[in-house]
């Protein structure tokens, strides 16, 4: 059987190649979609986790937009008055309340995210730094600005100031890498925020106290208390709708692959009637013929599947690495994705071969031999 399949593939190279390509494109789309989706989920999870807070205190407005702005280091225009801080800190289970002010400013002449914070930021981030009086620069920002520890930064927007770099962070592989952290008062002056804050990052004394603390904080005026996990879930729900659309498009590509393969196999049956007749005359049963065509289709689909996985991997390297939420998301590859893609290829192979294989199996040898 292997010999027959190989001989047929060799004889009809162009058609086989096009069939494999059709399947490969569908599988590649699926593989890329799975890798990018997993990457986006991981990026969101990482960024929300990296904030280091159990509860985000945000200004009134859309909590998802405000959280995204905070993660991206953008100014959301809605702010919290600084004078709510003592009330927040007085809530029983609040262990840390880190006020932050974020926005983009010209740093050494380049538009860069400025993140103003107090020493409390060190309690919610895991940087391994004990003091915070000058600037702490993320690894990517340091590279972009061409600066190192001890250098001076010029900050400019609504005010002009200079500040010395205390430390350059080791890569965190998150958005912190792109920020320049400065003392809160400096950021407020540069960003023209006066006494206002972008958010307050709250860490509770215990995880079990999160719900009650959120409820207490949520009753304060001018602010909303949002658990980052809720934001993550909502954003993933939002992404799920986009993903559904992409899956639909992928499904269409795969159906096109099925039809292409079915067409190829049907044509193969038509062209190889003589071969089928001889096989049947030499003793091959209907089941043998059926199995031959199903196997041939499966082989083509599997080759297409493997090619699709490789093609999908290559394609993801050239796609823009953004989640659509303004966060960088590197595609995540897993063995499970490869298995899913190959299973889809197998299903394509089987589905597309059933009709042609049955048609081949039904061929009457005597009728074919008479036509010879």
């Amino acid at each position: 059987m292997t010999w027959i399949i190989l001989a047929n593939a060799k004889k009809r190279r162009a058609r086989v190649a096009m069939t494999v390509a059709g399947i490969a494109i569908g599988v590649a789309t699926l593989f890329a979609l799975l890798a990018l989706s997993a990457g986006i989920e991981q990026a969101l999870d990482r960024e929300i986790g990296a904030m280091g807070a159990n509860i985000l205190l945000l200004p009134e407005g859309c909590p998802y937009e405000l959280t995204l702005a905070l993660m991206q280091g953008s100014d959301a225009f809605e702010h919290i008055p600084t004078d709510v801080l003592p009330d927040v800190r007085s809530v029983a289970d609040v262990a840390v309340a880190a006020p932050v002010a974020v926005g983009k400013a010209k740093i050494n002449g380049q538009l860069t995210s400025l993140y103003g914070a107090t020493d409390e930021i060190l309690a919610v981030r895991s940087w391994g730094i004990d003091t915070f009086s000058g600037a702490i620069v993320g690894s990517d920002a340091a590279e972009k600005l061409g600066v190192a520890e001890g250098d001076r930064l010029t900050l400019r927007l609504y005010a002009n100031e200079e500040i010395v770099i205390d430390a350059v962070l080791e890569p965190t592989y998150g958005r912190d890498d792109t920020f320049v952290f400065v003392p809160l008062a400096v950021a407020q002056r540069i960003l023209g925020l006066g006494e206002q804050l972008s958010a307050i990052l709250v860490r509770t004394r215990s995880v079990t106290a999160t719900a009650t603390t959120q409820s207490t904080l949520g009753r304060m005026s001018d602010i909303q208390a949002v658990p980052p996990s809720d934001v993550f879930e909502r954003l993933m729900e939002l992404f799920a709708t986009v993903k559904q659309t992409l899956i639909l498009i992928t499904g269409i590509a795969i159906v096109a692959g099925v039809l292409t393969t079915m067409n190829t196999m049907t044509m193969a049956v038509y062209e190889r009637k003589k071969e089928i007749g001889i096989l049947r005359a030499l003793g091959s049963t209907k089941v043998n013929v059926f199995r031959l065509f199903v196997t041939e289709s499966l082989v083509l689909s599997l080759v297409g599947g493997v090619a699709g996985v490789i093609l999908g991997f290559v394609a993801t390297q050239f796609l823009p690495q953004s989640s659509g939420f303004g966060l960088e998301a590197t595609p995540v590859f897993s063995f499970l994705h490869v298995v899913i893609c190959l299973l889809v290829a197998i299903v394509v192979g089987v589905a597309s071969s059933l009709y042609p294989a049955m048609s081949a199996a039904r061929t009457q040898p005597i009728k074919i031999l008479r036509e010879l």
Binding site: F77, E78, Y158, G192
Partner: protein, 322 residues
């Protein structure tokens, strides 16, 4: 010309900020209107419902803090657009400058058909955002000298990303060019009506003024609501329901016409409840610099009757429900 096609369902979650507002809509002091057939005229707002700004307002200017203004002291630069007693966000800046609270250099740009800030407090590249009571900042791309001020509104002036500012200017310039090419007639290349499951598009629609808000704008002013009224007059709409609301629970000043019902051949929103039609002016240049429409809470408040038009490339109406 019109065209129907199915649209993707927009997740209800995106409407959440709008739903909160829409669900709290209350009745206004003016009789609701059902426009249909040959009559698409809207009677003027009764004098007792036609309020103009009357209490001290606050404007945030980044780097300068929150500054106050007295509406009684403000004269509109655009008296060709605003009726007496009304003025724009830009007029507030001019007033602050006249009082020495800020330093402001500006000029009227005929190519953009708007006043432009050259320098504010020694800095260049300013833009603004504004919303009425109960809304949120919207990343507006509307001319500052046409955005009407109401009591209790929030205004912020900030240094805009140069790329976005450039896109806004480009968008305005395109509008003025389009208007000139159409010999001063407002013709909108694309109008889309969208609900969660339906979409209806109209192309190259000429819009005429219906003077729906003579209390706010001068006669002949063109607003977003005129787009729907013009569609109605052309026979593209079967019915339009308008409701003037002066206030809502927790919102003292609304003063705008809400589109609470609409039907057309190929567009009959199936969602019911507390629903309104919100609008978004757009165009190829500006589209990527606008917030997703579903987040434009202030469009609930910047109702179509208060959004003055020049000559937009497109306008999209979205049916938003609880």
């Amino acid at each position: 010309m019109m065209n129907t096609r199915p649209s993707l369902r927009i997740p209800r979650m995106l409407f959440m900020p709008l739903i909160v507002l829409a669900s709290s809509l209350g009745a206004g002091g003016v009789e609701p209107l059902r426009l249909a057939g040959d009559d698409w005229s809207v009677p003027a707002i009764p004098t007792d419902a036609a309020r103009s700004p009357s209490v001290t307002g606050i404007i945030e200017i980044r780097g300068a803090g929150n500054l106050t203004f007295d509406p009684w002291e403000i004269e509109p630069l655009r008296d060709d657009l605003f009726a007496p007693g009304h003025f724009s966000v830009f007029d507030v800046l001019v007033d602050l400058s006249a009082r020495g609270e800020i330093t402001l250099a500006y000029h009227y740009d005929h190519e953009l058909q708007t006043h432009v800030i050259d320098n504010l407090n020694g800095l260049e590249g300013w833009w603004y955002d504004a919303h009425y009571e109960g809304g949120t900042f919207d990343r507006t791309a509307l001319r500052m000298d046409t955005f009407p001020v109401k009591d209790g509104m929030s205004i912020t002036l900030f240094l805009e990303d140069p790329e976005r500012l450039s896109a806004i200017e480009h968008h305005f310039r395109d509008e003025v060019t389009r208007l000139a090419e159409n010999k001063g007639i407002l013709i909108i290349p694309e109008i889309i009506l969208r609900s969660a499951a339906q979409e209806l598009a109209f192309y190259d629609i000429e819009v005429i003024s219906h003077d729906v808000r003579p209390d706010v704008f001068q006669p002949g002013a063109l607003t977003a609501l005129d787009v729907l009224l013009s569609l109605g007059e052309m026979g593209h709409l079967d019915e339009l329901g308008l409701e003037f609301r002066d206030a809502q629970p927790d919102i003292e000043v609304v003063d705008g016409y809400f589109v609470v019902a609409i039907s057309a051949d190929g567009f009959l929103p199936e969602e019911t409840g507390a629903c309104v039609l919100t609008q978004q002016i757009s165009g190829s240049i500006i589209a990527e610099h606008l917030k997703a429409h579903t987040h434009t809470t202030s469009h609930i408040h910047l109702t179509g009757d208060l959004e003055a038009l020049v000559s937009p490339e497109s306008i999209e109406w979205l049916w938003v429900c609880l």
